[in-house]
Symmetry: C2
DNA sequence: TAAAAATACTCCATAGGTATTTTAT
DNA sequence: ATAAAATACCTATGGAGTATTTTTA
């Protein structure tokens, strides 16, 4: 089969008008060059070079092949450089998926500095429930996910990125705003709003309760809402209180319209995991992004003071 | 060095999503396919295919390479077909040179049927003296020439194409029009016009005279003209008579304004030769043209009756 | 005669094969 | 347990070398 090496040698012969000079140029002996040219001439079934003794000149067919060779070899070089560049260069589109909290609050905050540093990058964030995000990572539609722990799929690799501790969220004028910690027993009597079944937030709550030996049914559930925002509105309208991630209600906590307090005897910590396909090789862009956000998550995204009274003092700047 | 074969195998793996299926498709064993892919991955320094067990899918880099491979291999195929077609196909431009008579009268008549048969052909005729035509054939500017015999250049191959017999050309009212043959002795007394020095026509005349033991100076030369047309005008204006190729004055012979007669004791035959570079491979187009005009010259181009009285009778159609 | 391509031959690097192991479903 | 890729190892083709002959300026 004709290959690029033959054409490369041929090209050199045309350029040097000599077999032996071309041979020197590509570190081949003159007889080897002869055999390459012979191969091509046999392959195409026609003479490509006229050996005039003094110099070697291409025939019409040789001229055609020379022109084509130039283009073909130039294109080969283009491929080489394109792939070489691709190695290091952070460029192109990165599709990330996130469940509600990561997709709605964490990722939007993380990608800001990244896209500022790498202007040729487009990050696409897709929000969905943990399971559908994981499915899309499996299928390859998404290269990366940021979700809660998955059901241990063999093809999924997860790496803990960030810890989140849910809090009891109450209106600013709720009687408990002055209390430092509420007991679990007290909570069970309060009207309570939950996220819909299947949501990560509800799942985390169920897990936490179970860890303390309780069940969801023991709560006085007065409403079930389809989104964090809806729950939030429910709280503000005094329908009930709920357990949410402070990250999701940061605005209201800052504004003072909602307050976050801890519950004694209930571990509400949960983690979000960087989620990748175990076998698929991440693109350099993806690798760079992972590196970037891991570093970014070393310094806390959300100031620890956010949930203290200190945090609610008017800012001086 | 990366070659097209690697890319071809790689492409098949991507398409079949399998090393072994790809191997079958290109008649290679699965381990051989493995080694090809390994070569490419080493060459580019990155993983190109993710082996997911169930199927094999390209990485981002693999996708890039696949796209490029398609183009590169398509271009390779284009080259193959282009050169394959070039073999048989009569197409393109053919540069031919001719000295005065062939370039001005013979070739224009010959190429007519050829360009009619091969519509994608352009014939370019360059007229010049024999020596410059031969030089251009040597340099490759012209692929073919039609000229008188050359000075036996080693690199020139000549092949007799057509014979021409020069005649004494006289005005229609010249006293000799009724005579069948003029003797050489009579000719020497007549006012005579010659072509300029260096012209093929003059050279032929000198040669013919020499063959009969005469010299040019014995003629009563009254004028020297730079072209056949000029000589012709000179004859019509009774400046003198001349020896020319009847081919060049065909129109006047037909119209009866000039007459052509033979000269006893003077062999005025000369030949025109197809002239090629001995080492250079002629293009298929050139080969085809040569074949064509050789066949065309078997039937006389100029009717033998042209120089008889019969010829001058009014045509009935 | 000198210089360059073609030819003859020799050799070894490697493409490709078979057999087997490893890995993943 | 099965199917597919990786690995190990072997073989043989042909790419590339040296030496020589042929060709041509």
């Amino acid at each position: 089969m004709m290959d690029l090496w033959h054409l490369h040698v041929f090209r050199k012969v045309v350029e040097f008008k000599s077999f032996s000079k071309a041979g020197k140029a590509v570190n081949l002996s003159q007889p080897t060059v002869s055999s390459h040219i012979k191969y091509l001439e046999d392959h195409f079934g026609c003479r490509l070079l006229d050996r005039l003794g003094k110099e070697v000149l291409p025939t019409k067919a040789g001229e055609m092949l020379y022109g084509y060779s130039q283009k073909l070899l130039a294109f080969r070089d283009e491929i080489e450089t394109a792939l070489a560049n691709f190695q290091g260069i952070v460029k192109g589109r990165l599709a990330i998926g996130g469940s509600t909290i990561p997709g709605g609050y964490i990722l939007p905050r993380l990608i800001g500095p990244f896209v500022r540093d790498y202007s040729e990058v487009t990050i696409s964030i897709r929000i969905g429930d943990t399971q559908s995000i994981i499915n899309e990572v499996l299928s390859g539609e998404l290269e990366l996910g940021l979700v809660g722990a998955s059901t241990e799929n063999k093809h999924i690799h997860q790496d803990m990125l960030i810890e989140d501790e849910m809090k009891l969220i109450i209106p600013y004028d709720h009687p408990w705003v002055t209390i430092k910690q509420v007991g679990l027993a007290q909570l069970l009597k309060e009207p309570f709003i939950v996220r819909e079944k299947g949501s990560g937030t509800l799942q985390s709550l169920v897990n936490s309760l179970a860890a303390s030996g309780h069940k969801l049914e023991e709560l006085r559930i007065v409403a079930e809402m389809g989104s964090t925002t809806a729950v939030c509105q429910g709280i503000k309208n005094r329908i009930g209180i709920s357990i949410l991630s402070p990250i999701a209600v940061e605005e209201d906590l800052k504004a003072g319209t909602l307050r976050a307090i801890s519950i004694k005897g209930l571990n509400l910590k949960r983690s979000f995991y960087l989620t990748q396909h175990r076998q698929r090789t991440p693109s350099p862009l993806c690798q760079m992004f992972i590196q970037f956000i891991k570093k970014a998550c070393l310094k806390p995204l959300f100031p620890p003071t956010m949930f203290t009274d200190e945090f609610h003092k008017p800012t001086s700047t």
